[in-house]
Symmetry: C2
Subunit: 377 residues, 2 copies
């Protein structure tokens, strides 16, 4: 079946995600210079709007002109010293990244291995921090390679009263969940622009608690939190900022705040639940045990290769992501980030058609119907 | 049910239609001056690409900086003289426009009234042209107010051998059907940018046969075909052209020619057929007897007000058109123009949810399933 599309591909990958028109218009504007009052005003407004996303009024955060990994590296560099003992929860590709970064910067990394697709048992973390002098716990709130949710609130209860920083990669969680690091006991939060902020990649966010602030060192240069913080609270930056992305972020934060993070979370929860019920109806399995609401990682029905399925969907103009690392070819991943509720019927219809084309017994419309049923009830 | 959309409204009206990114990028570029070689080259290329859409190699066509009605008026002004007797097929709002224009410019208009939603019986036209000296037959190929198709090929058989021009408003037909005015015996073809050419409004197209060319007079000023033609075959215009829209049209014609008009027509035919089967499954009726493939005009199920339904859909971020003139509140209209096959599941899902919300007994997913069944079989 030929689709003869006029429009470009639709992008349902968990980053980058589709950019709403309101933001595209801002990104398309002529550049402004960053050493100007115009930029400073825009930057300070952006910072105020960002605080609301975190239900927080603290000025303890910086933006870097980097992808999310930059702020992950900054977390390890700025808040830890060589020899510091940390626990890295490794249950997917991004957990592995925490472990790699820790070692790179001389930390003594205890890798807490979790089967891919499973969530970490907080008791295992508690056991370690009780026994040893652990300076930090590095974890993903949303492990996007497996779609698993790690219960950072439970981990926060464990680290809160100790000299242990809870460092959370929230790259695919910030802007999705109604985040509250103070209440949850999180010390460092890492975010990235191309996920729920619906921007191109190239801007990362690093928020930290007062407890983390006391640990700030001078190891980093480009990723120095100290030098950036000093400038950024005044509306400037130590190094050239990603100007257009900052202006785009302001628009993105306006959208998120207009909807309200409580409603944003509700919307994603409904979208994720509907998508999963729909996929199960089509004979798929949801890969993670305790899934996040930012994306859905899916095992296709028995006998259907995930990458073959993705290829057929791509021929329809619908791009979803594949598995990473050891999950390559086994799963496919659909983003909810940046999507509106009705967008999911587009990707679900493509899944239905592709499954049928690959010989799966599919009653067309069954998945979409289930989805519409869930979101409207 | 709240949708909390991040993205803007989706536009499923039969004009304007959504603009593909490839075209938006061109439209967003800095203006170029029109009295330059750059514009002339682009304009001549656009003209060559336009010929292919009509399966024709003639240079007998002009573009006007106007909406479609401009080229309708130009047809009446340039090819007819006061006192000329013409037949106007009046079976909807746009048929009425032909009659109004004819009278405005002094023609003796015989209004051939057709019940709204019905298509004209060619025999009725034949009867008149046999009896009287009819200079022209003015008709819509696609009467977008009712969604009805008038059989211009059958009319062409009638006018071909006579001193009668067949003037076709193809505003919602050109770029949809694999048009062939020579073969079909059409003398004047009117098109508009904001329909199947997927551009903003503001550019109209006027093609004419050799037989029509012999009739060209000097009545018009802004809409003078003679003076525009003389310039346009050389890559220039008599008056300032809609520069950005011309450049956008070049991109649009590239897209249509890449797909090929034969495939474009097949795609729309499949989309229209699927949409209709889906809507019938949901208890709706298709309004016109012999519908076009560019749009679908729909009667909602008994007891559901069309405008109320549209309002509920609009709250979901989905815009469809209402009825015009005497059909206001009675029907709603969905465009296929500019759409890709999977786009229809978005609007059909919205129809399903809206019908359910308004108390209609709807098995969610049933319409979408029917649609996917039709397009994939």
């Amino acid at each position: 079946m030929k689709f003869y599309n006029f429009k470009g591909e639709r992008v349902f990958t968990p980053g980058p995600v589709e950019i709403p028109d309101r933001i595209r218009e801002v990104l398309g504007r002529q550049i402004i210079h960053h050493r100007t009052k115009e930029f400073t005003d825009a930057f300070l407004e952006t910072r105020e709007l960002f605080k609301k996303i975190l239900n927080n009024s603290s000025d303890n955060f910086v933006f870097f002109a980097s992808s999310g990994t930059g702020s992950m590296e900054a977390s390890v560099q700025n808040f830890f010293s060589p020899g510091d003992k940390v626990v890295a929860v490794v249950g997917g590709k991004f957990g592995e990244r925490w472990a790699e970064l820790g070692k790179k910067w001389g930390l003594e990394v205890i890798e807490l291995r979790v089967e891919w697709g499973k969530s970490v048992d907080p008791e295992r973390v508690e056991e370690i921090v009780k026994k040893e002098n652990i300076k930090g716990v590095l974890v993903q709130m949303s492990e996007s390679s497996t779609g698993a949710y790690h219960d950072v609130k439970a981990l926060g209860e464990i680290t809160k009263e100790r000299d242990t920083l809870l460092v959370v990669d929230a790259i695919t969680a910030l802007g999705v969940y109604n985040f509250n690091p103070d209440e949850w006991g999180i010390d460092v939060v890492v975010g990235g622009s191309q996920k729920a902020f619906m921007l191109p990649p190239g801007l990362s966010m690093l928020w930290f608690s007062e407890k983390a602030k006391e640990r700030l060192n001078d190891r980093a240069y480009y990723f120095s939190v100290k030098s950036e913080l000093k400038k950024q609270v005044e509306g400037q930056t130590a190094f050239t900022p990603a100007i257009s992305l900052i202006l785009g972020l302001r628009e993105s934060l306006k959208i998120l705040n207009e909807v309200g993070m409580e409603n944003v979370e509700k919307k994603y929860e409904r979208m994720a639940r509907g998508t999963r019920e729909a996929l199960k109806e089509l004979g798929c399995k949801i890969f993670p045990e305790n899934p996040v609401i930012s994306l859905t990682a899916v095992l296709p029905p028995q006998g259907i290769d995930a990458d073959r399925l993705r290829k057929v969907m791509l021929e329809m103009g619908v791009r979803v992501a594949g598995g990473q690392g050891k999950l390559k070819g086994k799963i496919f991943r659909i983003s909810h980030m940046g999507m509106d509720l009705l967008d999911m019927v587009h990707v679900l219809s493509a899944v239905e058609l592709a499954l049928k084309e690959l010989g799966s017994k599919v009653e067309l419309g069954k998945g979409v119907g289930t989805y519409l049923e869930v979101i409207s009830s």
